[in-house]
Symmetry: C2
């Protein structure tokens, strides 16, 4: 008998939520990883010897599940976490956020704050993020070092922006970012992020679309976030934001529409027809009092929907578990129907749904042999997760990011026993505190 | 110079949120405790020697604040956490919860599950709970052992109930409970909990009110939780639930109205006129799709409002930090106004507001010399709480129960470095898991 080649990592002794099409749950399961890929995902037979492996991780009765996919954030905004809250949107943006961004963002602060956000995301079970901001090169550097998987969009807006003082070079700058990062790092996919249909001209939007199509990258855009945006677009173009974008040819399957709160049935039909994906950012949308997107209607139309946290200045954390809990509960109470968005559906949105929304659905989003090995272990031996009747229920309604014990991304162990192995967390926190002292003074 | 008598405990080196009337924040503060009472709450002068104390607790730059007051829960229901979710309310209640309660509740299971809930509450910073359930003697035993402060109501319902098979003895049973526990334990105040105006007859409600008034205890009752309750009361009495209770003399200042979701302006005026207090249970009300109570209107009318978690079967945890976050965000998005319920207001609801609602406002709810010493230390040296511009913002929008490091109740240290000192947590979790295995099979 030939000697068996050892796996890189074997994770065992946990309830495996595969999040595959049939929502298969393996009560005591085993996951074998080699070369960054899931080789085996199966039941662990009692008394069976474990396969040979370089590293064995005992989940100790916890839950083994796909890593969470955060489909919308602005990672460097952790620098401004809690700087200004409870304000009218335009006061918050114009008097606080835009001013702070203009004054404090530079390659170094963006890099440092992104490292902080990566640490937070890893410690709360997020393995993939989709980001859109400025100085995205520096976001990419920090994300690459963290070991996270990411889709990163260089920001495009028709105003002087951090790192892009001349607006007429904004699309060219995004193109440069994409060219630099495409194929450079196995876990990072570059793309672009047009701020919105009210802050980018038709020309900018069309140019950006052309760049995204040519480079086969994701086109992110905030759409229909507020009622005032809808009014503005109606006045300017006689169309809703979605209809306007549809008319000028922006919507296609490589488009991530973020928010989509103030949309009507015609808009939803357009988005479904164009096969765009949608990212909802429930906590931030609630905190800014933007509104509630019609998620059940999106799902009914078959749209790919992912969950995002948005940036830390409007959330104010990056915990996807809290987002799951809120998505489920908000749509129940809005519809006065407790059967809307059940725990399994919500778990899917936060994993496979998000992966699909980012165009990564064949690679990640579920624990199935052949996919890349992005998984987390949730420690359930805690009072607030006791007893355990249904893992899906606990993950959505009772658990929090701090219950995540270990994180593996692309077959690499990046969090072990709540210690981030890829980031010097204490050092990063101290650096951000130093910056914050300057900002506050 | 006479020798200074040492304090029992001195807590120092943290930002003290006093939650006093002016929302005073002591950037580096000092709290001195003796005999269960706050003796001094003041700034810590740099270089100043610490006062003599039997125990010194270094908050290490964290936040020192009043313990959280959970104004509505059913502690033993942690036994059924996640047993049934995402179901229509009546299916959930009739086919799952009532059946499970009838079958599995007994003095021992109630005691064990309450111990679990106390451990969870302590580990998430709750120092006072207001509970309403059956076998409340056993709830009281478990709470007393945990060292928590509590107002406990024996359940009253006009059906055969766990421990009260003969409904016509339900008020007498509550009276017996009150007589047994009144003055027995310094931290426990007994009372009664009428289930609702649709499950208790007018006679029961009037009798219960008389007992509460005679014994000077709190009268808890679920009111206007669902639209169907309002319809039922309208059909039966031609009045809304609040108007009906007002008419039959149930509403007075020693009344805790729980939920108050489907109330109109007349109802709110009645409640304000009667000086009742209100408990809102946001997560549970969202998950059961009951509706959204008009909290800003309650506050405008000067009503005492507290926050509760409700039971674990409909939440599904007991984390008051999550409740604070949700109360703030839900009312912002409902009113499309981000200035509604700011972080400081919400912190007040979860502390002094809750204390006022339970009639304990002179004893607890803020950190002021003379009050009982119920306080928690929140560890902010974590990525998701970095940087720190505004402690109030972090506590409401970014922190979670798992950030609580230490808990002191009535001057007694009950949680130290996230270890519960009063409950054998591993043993209790194992006992509840054993019960859950029976229940699931």
């Amino acid at each position: 008998m030939p000697e068996e080649k050892p796996y890189d990592i074997v994770v065992h002794n946990g309830t495996v939520l595969t999040l595959n099409r049939t929502f298969e749950v393996l009560e005591i399961g085993l996951v074998c990883i080699t070369g960054g890929r899931l080789e085996r995902v199966e039941k662990e037979a009692p008394g069976q010897a474990l396969p040979a492996a370089r590293q064995i991780i005992d989940a100790r009765g916890g839950i083994i599940m796909p890593g969470l996919v955060n489909t919308h954030t602005h990672a460097p905004m952790s620098l401004f976490r809690g700087l200004a809250d409870d304000l009218p949107l335009m006061t918050w943006l114009n008097d606080h956020i835009f001013e702070a961004e203009g004054r404090w963002l530079n390659p170094e602060t963006v890099y440092t704050a992104t490292r902080l956000s990566c640490a937070e995301m890893l410690l709360s079970g997020t393995t993939t993020l989709c980001d859109g901001y400025f100085f995205e090169d520096n976001v990419a550097e920090a994300v690459e070092e963290s070991g996270m998987r990411a889709v990163l969009g260089q920001g495009i807006i028709d105003f002087p922006a951090p790192g892009v003082p001349e607006p007429d070079k904004n699309v060219a700058e995004a193109r440069r970012f994409i060219d630099k990062w495409q194929g450079k790092s196995p876990l990072i996919r570059p793309g672009l992020f047009c701020h919105s249909p009210y802050t980018c001209s038709e020309e900018t939007l069309r140019e950006a679309r052309r760049v995204a199509d040519e480079t086969e990258t994701l086109f992110q855009i905030h759409v229909a976030e507020t009622q005032s945006e809808v009014r503005e677009l109606q006045e300017k173009h006689g169309l809703s934001p979605v209809q306007y974008l549809d008319k000028i040819g922006i919507l296609n399957p490589a488009t991530l529409v973020v928010h989509a709160i103030w949309v009507d049935e015609v808009d939803i039909a357009s988005m479904a027809g164009s096969l765009v994906a949608i990212s909802v950012t429930t906590e931030s949308e609630m905190k800014l009092a933007s509104g509630v997107p019609p998620v059940p209607a999106f799902l009914k139309k078959g749209l790919a929907v992912g969950i995002g946290t948005d940036g830390c200045a409007s959330n104010n954390n990056l915990d996807m578990f809290q987002e799951m809990d809120l998505v489920a509960k908000l749509h129940k109470v809005k519809n006065l129907d407790p059967t809307v968005l059940d725990a399994r559906q919500v778990l899917r949105l936060a994993t496979q749904g998000g992966a699909d929304a980012l165009g990564l659905g064949d690679e990640i989003g579920s624990l199935e042999a052949g996919k890349r090995a992005d998984l987390i272990i949730v420690d359930t031996r805690k009072p607030h997760l006791t007893p355990l009747y249904d893992p899906a229920s606990h993950l959505v309604y009772a658990a929090g990011g701090s219950d995540v014990r270990d994180v593996i991304i692309d077959g690499r162990l990046v969090v072990r026993d709540r210690t981030v192995l890829t980031i010097k967390v204490e050092e990063v926190m101290a650096a951000v505190e130093d910056l914050a002292r300057e900002i506050a003074s």
